[in-house]
Symmetry: C2
Subunit: 423 residues, 2 copies
């Protein structure tokens, strides 16, 4: 190793140590370096959970014709204006209108036609009287109520009019949206591609799940939790296995992985002798920060290699997953055209215990949620080490103590974010 | 048609009309007729979003050995008891411990060994002093702080102990849970099968999306929104197309579909002449109710055919999807071992307008959510007809007005349920 490389390596590390960047600034840096991924076209019935990359503009009216909204009789509203329970109006029945077939029927004054829900309105009719407000006597129909024009008629375009923007670019599609696309005969939609995210775990001590462990070895959990976290926010994870703590190997692996849209490395980002990943990033591209004022997840670095955003996450499972949530998840969402936040549902809840933090650092406190006498309570999880993954499997969500606070008192109403299997 | 069949058919219809069953009672009836689906075994890294069908008991300790939680020096805590910033204790450095390899080092009194985060603790050591609290002078180490036994040591089993129940049966797996399964080397997990749900749309007026519409025809949206809704709560939808309004055809389609775990039919459940689906259910099996005191979605029927739960949903797109949410979704969740509720995240929000309802009927009011000066507001959507699917695509969620209330006043704090693309 040349002296200059050694110096540059030291300075990278020292900078990381000295200046923990604020969470907001870290996010700003990240977001200014990610770009939306490409667009692809998918069939509408395969688009659930995808993010629209176009405004959907209707080319049709829904419904496409005036139709009855109830079972009853199509009438001219004006014929019924004086009708009441005690003084019915008597109309002449002139036909019956079925569903699914156009009708040639024309209603003239004092005429009525039997009609079913969803059947097309006959020409001349402008209202439908419900079955229960009528009495039929042979070809005569008594109407016991007065109707205003349009009553019980579902008019052409009342749901969607041709030219309406029905769903907007950046919207994540839900079941009703998929139904709407069908209803508009919008067979193909443009959606954001799923960002392809390479995941590498570093550390010679890592063994794959199921492998027998040597005396000082541990099982790799990070690459699996990170892969699931990537899927969970719409990304497409590619686990590339583990790499030993060897900078040359790490650099080679990073270069190989840089064809993906984002790279996540776990391990080797703490500020110690094995601080290899940030160094590798600095040597291959640009290291933009190392060390974020959050806990857990402080020893996180971020940079750009071959134009691709690359995160060096801590090796401890909680630290790596929390840092992913706080930093990489908003980026992945932005890359898909979603709002660049964490996107977890938020609820207000009352803390059951005091939570302490440190000024200048954002703390991510895992919590359990429960209802007690109609009140939503958030109970901070006691064991909080970065290595205690059970603190996250036990948790229903988390609360962020912002940098400008030293904690929350017992009983404080806080905003909790909820872990959802898919969201 | 025989007279007795005609009578039975009429009585079915009349009963449906006369007695709208309460939502709670409808749900009770449904849940007493659904059973958990079978169990299957999947690889842990394919299990995100699946529901555990077993308790996961750890067969290992995590971590599997005592290790350092920081970069620093392994020491015997008792050697540091009197150390302070001004009066350091001087120890003898006897080695260095790397990650991933067992160490044969044994610390004796007044000895220290360099150690990295994650490296195994040497025999005799019971604490780690952080780098920044030490000064190294050749083979001598000054320690400027006193340590209690266990300080900065991550002890064997501190995350998970062998025998711990780590994840419980009925839990829907999230990213951290997948990581935990990896960490435990739990390669395969038992999860509930995805209930297979057959979906049939009835009505001769229905055309598939993309097909040219005749004058009185409409595009089928229901079978697509229902299929997406089934996926959205863990089911596996099978769209079986559309069936004409012909009871014999409907009965044949139902029988064919009864190999699935659940059947959803849309259309033909309103109480009119084309009331074919409830009749078909009554003739093939048992019709348990017809008509629920909810809006939209009132004309919903439920029964059992060949042991399988079958829902006759209304033909209007909002009515069918809301009735699915209120009735079929809890059932599908129960079939997977989840809590038999709707499972949407709930938030408290303030109504921006009065909402009126009718005593004795539960109203599902679609809302938009927005923040205004830190307060979450729920704005009821004005257009609410059962046929207006845009009232659901515009909505962020919904509020249920219970049967015993005539509505909510403007400014009332209500509990809103949020539509999430996948949850």
């Amino acid at each position: 190793m040349s002296l200059s490389m050694h110096v540059s390596k030291m300075s990278v590390r020292m900078r990381g140590f000295a200046r923990y960047i604020r969470l907001d600034d870290a996010l700003k840096t990240i977001l200014s370096h990610v770009r939306p991924v490409g667009v692809e076209t998918v069939k509408f019935d395969q688009a659930l959970g995808r993010v629209l990359a176009e405004d959907v503009v209707s080319k049709v009216d829904v419904p496409p014709f005036d139709r009855s909204a109830v079972d009853g009789y199509a009438v001219r509203a004006s014929d019924t204006f004086r009708a009441s329970e005690s003084k019915p109006v008597r109309l002449r029945m002139v036909g019956s209108i079925a569903i699914g077939y156009p009708t040639k029927l024309r209603l003239r004054k004092s005429e009525a036609a039997k009609i079913m829900t969803g059947a097309p309105m006959p020409t001349g009719a402008d209202a439908v009287v419900m079955l229960e407000n009528t009495g039929a006597v042979g070809k005569k129909l008594d109407v016991f109520t007065s109707l205003t024009p349009g009553k019980n008629v579902s008019t052409r375009g009342e749901d969607v009019e041709k030219g309406d923007i029905v769903l907007k670019c950046g919207h994540k599609l839900r079941p009703q949206d998929v139904g709407m696309l069908g209803s508009l005969s919008k067979l193909y939609v443009k959606v954001s591609q799923s960002p392809s995210v390479a995941i590498l775990a570093t550390g010679g001590e890592l063994k794959q799940p199921g492998r027998k462990l040597g005396k000082a070895e541990i099982t790799d959990a990070n690459s699996y939790s990170l892969a699931a976290a990537v899927s969970n926010c719409g990304g497409c994870p590619k686990r590339l296995g583990t790499v030993r703590d060897d900078k040359a190997l790490i650099k080679r692996a990073i270069l190989k992985a840089s064809r993906h849209d984002m790279l996540l490395l776990s391990g080797g980002s703490s500020v110690g002798e094995r601080d290899l990943v940030p160094d590798a990033i600095a040597e291959l591209g640009k290291l933009l920060f190392h060390g974020v004022a959050i806990r857990p997840g402080g020893p996180t670095a971020f940079g750009i290699v071959k134009g691709k955003p690359i995160f060096a996450l801590a090796g401890f499972p909680v630290a790596s997953l929390v840092a992913f949530d706080m930093l990489a998840r908003p980026a992945l969402r932005a890359m898909q055209g979603l709002h660049a936040d964490r996107g977890y549902p938020r609820v207000k809840a009352k803390l059951t215990r005091k939570v302490s933090s440190t000024l200048g650092r954002a703390d991510v406190v895992r919590i359990k949620l429960r209802y007690a006498s109609g009140e939503l309570l958030a109970e901070p999880i006691r064991i909080t080490g970065s290595s205690i993954l059970s603190s996250m499997t036990d948790a229903d969500g988390f609360v962020v103590v912002p940098e400008n606070m030293e904690g929350f008192r017992e009983g404080a109403i806080v905003e909790a974010e909820i872990y959802i299997p898919d969201c």
